[in-house]
Amino acid sequence: MVNTGDTAWILTSASLVLLMTPGLALFYGGMVRAKSVLNMMMMSFGALAVISVLWVLYGYSLAFGDDVGAGLLGSPTQYLGLAGLMEDTTSEAGGLPTMAFVGFQAVFAIITVALISGAIADRAKFGAWMVFAGVWATIVYFPIAHWVFDFTLTDDDGVVTHVGGWVANNLAAIDFAGGTAVHINAGAAGLALAIVLGKRRGFGRDLVRPHNLPLVMIGAGLLWFGWFGFNAGSAVAANNTASVAWVNTLVATGAASLGWLLVEKLRDGHATSLGAASGVVAGLVAITPSCAAVSPVGAILLGAVAGGLCALAVGLKYRFGYDDSLDVVGVHLVGGLVGTLGVGFLATAAAPAGVDGLFYGGGVDQLWRQAVGAFAVLITSFVLTYIIGLVIQKTMGFRVDEEDEMEGIDNAVHAESAYDFTSLGGGGGSLGATRSAAATASASTRGATA
């Protein structure tokens, strides 16, 4: 008999997590200039399109197939095209249909790829991005998801029925919902791509302020909403663990937003809306790996530290001269490290994960496991992404022409403009654009034959 409560919650969570990617598109889209908002949002929607297909074809199998060796990779052929998974075998014992888990994990893969796009705003060829998305998911994300999310399973007699990845099982690092696999991974990849593509024209000199902060705040709100599915859904059940994760996801995020605003107020004199929204995301990132391992009060502490540190970390790109345009490094890499390493300090055996960290008398045992997991993912992701980016740059080219970048990538790459501000022209009026002769001709032909 299928567990209907669990199944309902996981399908709901999967849908919540899916909404995070359009939410991210708004969050990122509002932060770029009006001439490149569509391209920014299209990189998220492109990831939705490509990764959902690849996940079904072979991604799930690479991540959750039986391990092919050393906990590094799942069998690429075991669930090719989700073979055999339509038949419900797992839920007979009161479990969750495997397809619900397939769907839940698919949306994690999508958002992770989409997160990277913030590092290369305003300047990437759309085709190159789509190729990158598919290749990166295949070579970097699917294997790392196997490391972190694929747990070894045993049956009632203690016989191993499925062998999972090395970070989750051999190392036993705690990453509840993806501080390493999602955030450190995307952050390190963003850093590598920002270096490969180079700076935008006028980086650090020109005014590149966000064109629509309300969009950024709506996006942050949708991310927070969806993140309850991300974290509480990662309990893979509708139970107490999910509930603890939910509350920690609420309170760490609030504390992080406070932390970011406090840094701004003290340093710059103003608490900004962009700071509030950024603090929300920083807190969500930090509580992702830790939401089942810390107490609610621990979550407040972790969130506040993450918000404050990320607010400082977003300035690093100016010091080191890499154009991580929307701070994927400063928020996701730094926030992911705070959360993942924070487990080593703030974990308490009273929480569902049942492990004591350094501050709760557990010594450094969990801390070193967290550090090894975090840096293994960081280094792997950075090196592989750098290589993938460089190959794309040298073959098909990753960056648009200087002229297209200056005039606006929306028009150059997508032949669209996000906004029509004028009633005089631009939208087909007498002073602006008129329908091209070819389009008008074909329209009248259709009219004649209809």
Binding site: R209, D268, H270, T272, L274, S278, L312, G315
Partner: protein, 112 residues
């Protein structure tokens, strides 16, 4: 005929409009403009990165008047737009050679 052009603070637009109506001005043109004078711009901070915004938003008001009315209209605008602080703007008067009302073809003072 004269063209009176005024650059004023945007929140003073309504006061200026009302003041001009009370002295019998029958029409004016308004546009949103940006620029800087002694007031200079302001700074904005996004994720800790500080940007100097050089141009300040202002409103430009243009009124066509008869020669004799120019000085009075000018004084009315100055009176209505003044706050006494920096950035109040400027008013200037230029000569206009000819004016035509598009609907009727009337010229000169008749067209004002």
């Amino acid at each position: 005929m004269r063209l009176v052009t005024a650059i004023v603070k945007p929140f003073k637009l309504d006061d200026v409009k009302v003041a001009l109506e009370t002295v019998g001005v029958a029409g004016l043109t308004v546009s949103e403009v940006q620029g800087f004078g002694r007031q200079k711009g302001h700074t904005e901070v996004y994720r800790g990165a500080e940007y100097q915004v050089d141009f300040v938003p202002k409103v430009r008001i243009e009124v066509l008047v008869e020669d004799a009315d120019a000085a009075r209209v000018c004084d009315v605008i100055v009176g209505a737009a003044r706050t006494g602080s920096i950035g109040d703007g400027k008013v200037w008067v230029t000569s206009v050679e000819d004016v035509v009302r598009v609907r009727t073809g009337e010229r000169g003072i008749d067209a004002i």
